[in-house]
């Protein structure tokens, strides 16, 4: 701003003229200072958006000037975030408009040493060509005599950072093309939450919202580093604290979350089931449960079949098959009443044979009768008694011995739980991936679910299980799954076995009673959305077009298939497995066997450049010029450059509008998938091959706009919502039909576009509505914010207490009403009793809140759905230096999934020679300043500078024992790899007394990799591929390592050191493999 030269404005004259005679204020304010206007005011418009980092989904305002985003801030109107942003959210301007993002397509020829430029159009053509050819070459009509109709040579990974609309197109097109190996971050983050919560309550998503934690009397954060991973949601914990709630943090590692808790309970990593089992035992043995709730709403009174046998001295439930290393769950069923699970293992042999295999139709389940109940809870085979016996050995002494939690601390936790539950008070659990990422992760979530059911905390204000999810739309990429085992809305992907038509599939997988009883409506509507007019009753609505599964095709199985050479083409959509997945070495080895790799990201992440600078190149194990893989890097558009919805951790779909156009060759994933699909369809046009029909008959027309022909996300969302035969938008999933007259891309999202209005774009300010924020955006299902909220009222429909009222029956109006949308049929009175033989929603009685469950009850005991047992049981982690003293005959989860490969070796059992080589326990966590595998933070200087280096946190005791120096270096070694990290000696880590000896634990963040601005070794070089059998999630929250002072060797000596340790520990292909 030019300064006015008029002498009258000279500061000295102003000083003499005005009041500021000494020239300290008004007189010396310069013209430039005066003219300085904030860019928030100078912008042309404010665009509503959503933060692209974690799943809190903080609402953002984009300030746009001259069609460029010039500032990004929190939106104060938002009920969930209240205008606040964490450091990552605050850095989104630098993330999106900084200079770290690539703008052009890069191409690496086979055997080439470096990238070259390629124009976007040519690159798209080349990828189209490769896609078509690889698909053809890898086509499979049958596997072991069963029709599979699929392509096993192409796989895709990533989607949790994308919009729902993008995930929808990816899943839709790739599935139509026959590809089953479609996975995203949800697999490695919270897939076990889906199993745990889904089997327990009916839906595999968080039952509540962070904002409702303010109503809690007790908040137990366990398996969650909430203050660091979800800082803006942590405001609600602080809010509860200010209202007098008690906050407990149970964790192996004292984090910023612990600092603000009232009580921090350190425990040994990987022992939460023992800890929670101890609390369950306390509640059961002291009968401190909320008995009315338990009898009315849980399966505590249900009688289990005689065949069931609890875990005995062999550490096994009934039904175990040594050869298959897994269970046949049929012996776990209720007496005379076979029920299907609402989530988890559904379309599997055990279920299908029992439910459909006898050639019975959908009445089969009814024919087997209703579950028998004993409301007195005295029957020896009722769930209550089974549970009580199962957890009897989880005593305070056991907890102390196994977890390292002193008995007085444990007693205090138990006391607080019991005192803060019941009619007048509620307690909430908050968990994150600290619980999910274990070889028995689904059961961690089950254990918490059992406790919350016993204490009557589900469906009530301040209660619930709050699953903190970690990517902007990872909930969405679970709901509209870029996952191999589900179709949109948690409809299972069909397996290749007995049932080959739609009816058998439905009968074999869905519960007959409750809302899963309508699965045929959801499935037919989905098939109509995908294949439109081509899907008719005559052709079973194209059900045969769906490729079939044969076992697990999780991302880890995909890696094995890459190494084997089956998978030739691989898409990475914003995921960085070379840093973020377990055993990153295996990830890179897999990619090195590919014919082609497509990476879509902001910057050149490690998964894009391993062929030129990965650890195996440095060590000389791989030579760049011998790697044949062609690599395409496509620069991705950022959230501010596209519109669409993210589904946040509270199941809320928020529409984000576009603030600016992407530059150069940056494109949205919607653009990429849509145009790739179009090109593939053009290439296949006219094909008479049956293989290509699902692709050619697919509905694949969306309006485009602008010079880039960006497809309309709005019409994709409309397709997801669905319409009726007249083309009118549906308003809720109960309108769906199984006669082909309705179309719906994801039944649980039906209603997000009700009345033809994009409900996800609603932004009614928090101050104009109650705490549930029901009119801000839209939550599935049916805009219900707190799930199972029918349980906030007693069986007669009255709130259990005034203090904890949420929804209740208004007998005058004849409807359910309250502070939230009732999670129940609005006009079904509490006294409704289903007529004999009723099915579907009609079979739901008026006093049963868990409407997705086959028996409408919360499952304390899971008769189906969870692969490793009906009740959570403590097994040691895959790599643990501690023996399982609860079940000495069974060290590890007998049903876990392990992979035999020379680069995926496991550690010895504690009683084997060499067991003491890897004697320290590692747990991993996120830092506030970084995000997952670092792709969105390590390149962002404002964040990189806050946590510039990879470090490990060790106790002073361990440091003294091993000669580790604070701020020096340590080398950590496992049977898979070795890394170096800066040493942080801190009192926040503490040795624990376990089984009578001292055990050390190390805390390690996992965000670093070799690329970016802040660089470092990746923690996942150390971890192994060992998975939870129900969800196929990897165990990275508890493992064992060796630690020594100093930096790691360079070059070939790095793997040499690993080999040396393996030899010292006597590791062979059999080590750690025993079931």
């Amino acid at each position: 701003m030019a300064r006015k030269a008029s002498p009258a404005n000279w500061p000295l004259l102003r000083q003499l003229r005005g009041k500021d005679r000494l020239g300290r204020g008004a007189a010396v304010r310069s013209q430039a200072t005066q003219a300085n206007r904030p860019r928030t005011v100078e912008s042309d418009r404010v665009v509503k958006s959503v933060c692209p980092y974690c799943a809190v989904g903080c609402a953002q305002n984009l300030y746009v000037k001259d069609d460029k985003v010039v500032q990004i801030e929190g939106d104060p109107d938002a009920p969930h975030s209240r205008g606040r942003l964490c450091p990552k959210g605050s850095a989104t301007l630098q993330l999106t408009t900084g200079d770290a993002r690539e703008q052009h397509v890069l191409y690496r020829r086979p055997y080439a040493r470096d990238w070259e430029r390629l124009d976007l159009d040519t690159a798209m053509d080349m990828v189209t060509d490769k896609f078509v050819r690889t698909r053809e070459a890898g086509w499979e009509w049958e596997s072991e005599g069963k029709r599979t109709r699929r392509c096993m040579s192409i796989a895709a990974l990533g989607g949790a950072t994308l919009d729902n609309e993008e995930n929808y197109l990816i899943k839709k097109f790739l599935t139509a093309a026959g590809i089953v190996q479609i996975e995203n971050q949800a697999r490695v983050c919270h897939s076990s939450t889906v199993v745990g919560l889904g089997t327990s309550f009916g839906r595999g998503a968080s039952s509540t919202l962070p904002g409702d934690l303010q109503n809690s009397d007790l908040i137990v954060l366990e398996g969650s580093n909430m203050a660091e991973a979800h800082p803006v949601a942590y405001q609600w914990v602080m809010e509860a604290k200010a209202r007098g709630a008690t906050v407990i943090h149970v964790d192996p590692h004292y984090s910023r979350t612990s600092a603000l808790a009232d009580i921090f309970v350190p425990l040994r990593a990987g022992t939460d089931i023992a800890f929670l089992g101890g609390v369950i035992n306390h509640v059961l043995s002291t009968e401190s449960d909320f008995r009315e709730y338990v009898v009315a709403y849980t399966n505590a009174p249900t009688i289990v079949g005689e065949e069931f046998e609890d875990v005995g001295v062999d550490g096994l439930f009934s039904g175990y098959d040594e050869e298959k290393r897994g269970y046949d769950p049929s012996s776990w069923q209720y007496e005379d009443a076979f029920v299907a699970a609402a989530a988890g293992q559904r379309d599997q042999e055990g279920n299908v044979e029992a439910l459909a295999g006898e050639g019975q139709d959908r009445d089969g389940e009814a024919a087997r009768g209703q579950p028998k109940l004993d409301p007195t809870l005295q029957h020896p085979r009722c769930v209550w008694q089974i549970l009580k016996r199962h957890y009897a050995q989880y005593t305070p002494e056991t907890v102390e011995r196994v977890c390292g939690v002193p008995q007085d601390v444990f007693a205090e936790v138990c006391r607080l739980f019991v005192e803060n539950s019941g009619r007048e008070r509620t307690a909430a659990f908050v968990h994150g991936v600290g619980w999910t990422q274990h070889t028995i992760g689904s059961q961690y979530i089950r254990a918490a679910s059992i406790l919350q059911l016993l204490l009557g905390n589900m469906g009530r204000p301040g209660g619930g299980v709050m699953a903190m999810r970690g990517h902007a739309s990872i909930q969405g990429s679970s709901d509209i799954p870029t996952l191999f085992d589900t179709l949109p809305g948690y409809i299972p992907m069909p397996h290749a076995h007995g049932h080959e038509d739609l009816d058998k599939f439905i009968a074999g997988t869905a519960a007959r009673r409750g809302f899963w009883g309508d699965m045929r409506n959801y499935t037919v509507s989905l098939l109509k959305a995908w294949w439109g007019a081509a899907a008719s009753e005559e052709n079973d609505y194209c059900f045969d077009y769906l490729p079939r599964l044969t076992g697990s095709h999780s991302t880890y199985d995909t890696v094995m298939e890459q190494i084997k050479g089956t998978v030739k083409g691989y898409f990475l959509f914003g995921e960085n497995p070379a840093v973020g997945s377990a055993n990153t070495r295996m990830q890179r080895l897999g990619m090195s066997k590919l014919d082609w790799l497509v990476v879509r990201d902001f910057s050149l992440i490690e998964s894009a450049t391993w062929w030129k600078d990965g650890p195996e190149i440095e060590s000389g194990e791989m030579l760049t010029e011998e790697i044949a893989t062609e690599v395409f890097f496509f620069p991705a558009a950022a959230h501010i450059e596209k519109e669409g919805t993210f589904t946040n951790t509270q199941r809320m779909l928020q529409w984000h509008h576009k603030g600016q156009d992407p530059v150069e060759e940056q494109r949205s994933d919607l653009w990429f998938m849509y145009h790739l699909g179009k090109r593939v369809r053009e290439r296949l046009a006219g094909s008479q091959d049956e293989r290509d029909r699902p692709v050619l008959e697919l509905t694949w027309e969306h309006p485009t706009e602008g010079e880039h022909e960006e497809p309309s996300a709005d019409t994709v969302l409309a397709e997801v919502n669905g319409w009726n035969a007249d083309g009118e938008m549906l308003s809720t999933y109960t309108e769906l039909k199984d006669d082909g007259s309705t179309s719906c891309g994801c039944w649980i999202y039906c209603g997000c576009y009700a009345d033809g209005v994009n409900q996800t774009a609603r932004r009614k300010p928090a101050r104009e509505q109650n705490w549930t924020g029901g009119e801000w955006a839209w939550a599935w299902p049916a805009n219900r914010r707190i799930l199972y909220n029918r349980a906030s009222a007693d069986p007669e429909g009255r709130p259990w207490s005034e203090r904890k009222a949420l929804v209740w029956w208004d007998s005058e109006k004849g409807e359910w009403t309250g502070h939230d949308t009732p999670d129940f049929e609005a006009d079904k009175p509490p006294g409704y009793r289903p007529p004999p033989g009723a099915s579907g929603p009609a079979a739901i009685a008026g006093d049963t809140p868990f409407i997705m469950q086959a028996d409408q009850r919360g499952w304390l005991y899971a008769p189906a759905g969870v692969a490793d047992g009906p009740m959570p049981t403590h097994y040691e982690p895959q790599d643990s230096p501690v023996a399982n003293s609860i079940y000495p005959a069974r060290q590890r989860n007998p049903a876990r999934e392990v992979y035999e490969h020379e680069n995926n070796r496991y550690h010895p059992d504690p009683d084997e020679p060499g067991a003491d080589v890897f004697d320290v326990v590692v747990t991993t966590y996120r830092l506030t300043e970084h995000f997952t595998a670092g792709g969105m933070t390590r390149w962002t200087p404002y964040l990189a500078e806050l946590q510039p280096e990879f470090f490990c946190e060790v106790s002073p005791e361990l440091a003294a024992e091993r000669g580790l120096e604070h701020a020096g270096w340590a080398t950590l070694v496992s049977a898979r790899g070795c890394v170096e990290a800066r040493v942080m000696v801190t009192d926040r880590m503490t040795p624990l007394q376990i089984e009578g000896r001292t055990l050390h634990q190390i805390g390690m963040p996992y965000h670093w990799g070799a690329n970016g601005y802040a660089k470092g070794d990746s923690m996942n070089e150390l971890s192994s591929m060992a998975l939870d059998p129900s969800s196929h999630i990897q165990e990275v929250k508890a493992l064992s390592v060796a630690i020594r002072p100093g930096r790691r060797p360079r070059g070939a000596a790095r793997q040499e050191l690993v080999r040396e340790y393996r030899e010292r520990a006597g590791i062979t292909a059999q080590t750690g493999m025993r079931p």
Binding site: R84, L85, A944
Partner: protein, 319 residues
């Protein structure tokens, strides 16, 4: 006057809030005359808005550093280098030309008892009796002193008092002389070496001008950083201390909120859970220009005497 070790007084009487003129501070004469109570008015701002400031409640700080980043984004402050310090989670080090908000992390071994700590760990060697642990976090910032020595010494008029009572360095005026750097009792002012000028927190003067709160306060996830009229913040802070004391957090105390302290009270004050030194704050900050008026007076007297002597000698010579 020290703000430390005064727990009983802090919880009870707060004379400066009960109306009436507060006791005279020890600051320099200029300051007393000009700035006390109404620094903006004393700097020539007529009908100015109420004095605005920060209340940073460290008892709810989660150490997320959103304040650091939000500040940098808004004010386009350069990134500060990749130094892993090993000092807990603090890799910023302290306030400086390129860090206008700084979160301190203090890991403490303390005796068990009372509300804090929340964690009893295994006792370590040499730390007998201190088997409790707590982790303190606090976001530091320019204090926007009532008696701002930086402003006193600035020879160019680059540093000025705004109508909100805040203290701002004007970048188009600053010539980088650096007088203000040693003048600040808190060590806030700092020269950006590659630029040559002095930079510090402006309390987002541009945003205040249009009724928007500073970027750090807006972002703060737990409302640890609160922005508002200083008087209101002081009342709120007093209430917060009271509630914490009732809840057994007896170590809670305010820092920098008293108008009778060595800088006439801070425009940005804090609720701390330990002595200020623990957080790297001076326990007893005094405006470094306190003695300036007396020095000038002495200089004046000396000069006068000299002059008188000189005149006298000339006068004598004429006789």
């Amino acid at each position: 006057m020290s703000t430390t070790g005064e727990r009983p007084e802090l919880s009870g009487e707060r004379p400066e809030l009960s109306g009436g003129p507060p006791p005279a501070p020890e600051g320099g004469l200029l300051n007393i005359l000009l700035e006390h109570g109404d620094p903006a008015g004393a700097s020539g701002w007529q009908e100015h808005p109420p004095r605005m400031g920060f209340f940073t409640d460290t008892s709810v700080c989660i150490g997320c550093k959103a304040c650091e980043v939000a500040c940098k984004e808004w004010n386009e402050v350069p990134e500060d280098g990749l130094d892993w310090t090993g000092h807990s989670h603090d890799n910023t080090g302290g306030l400086g030309a390129d860090t206008w908000r700084h979160v301190a992390f203090i890991e403490q071994r303390v005796p068990v008892g009372g509300h804090q700590p929340n964690f009893q760990r295994a006792p370590a060697a040499g730390e007998e009796g201190k088997d409790g642990f707590r982790w303190l976090m606090s976001s530091d910032v320019c204090k926007h002193c009532t008696h701002a020595a930086c402003l006193d010494v600035c020879p160019t008029g680059a540093i000025f008092r705004t109508e909100f009572g805040t203290v701002v360095v004007q970048q188009d005026i600053c010539n980088g002389c650096g007088y203000c750097v040693p003048a600040c009792p808190y060590g806030v002012l700092d020269k950006r070496e590659e630029d040559g000028r002095i930079f510090k927190c402006t309390l987002c003067y541009d945003r205040l001008g249009v009724g928007q709160e500073p970027a750090c306060a807006k972002a703060c996830p737990t409302d640890s950083i609160q922005f508002g009229p200083l008087e209101e913040l002081r009342e709120r802070a007093a209430g917060r201390v009271e509630r914490l004391h009732e809840a057994g957090v007896i170590e809670a105390r305010l820092y920098g909120e008293r108008p009778d302290d060595g800088v006439g009270g801070d425009g940005a004050f804090f609720l701390l859970l330990d002595e200020p030194e623990v957080y790297g704050l001076p326990p007893d900050p005094i405006v470094t220009t306190r003695d300036l008026p007396r020095m000038w007076r002495n200089v004046g007297i000396a000069a006068g005497a000299l002059l008188a002597g000189a005149i006298g000698s000339f006068a004598g010579a004429r006789r």
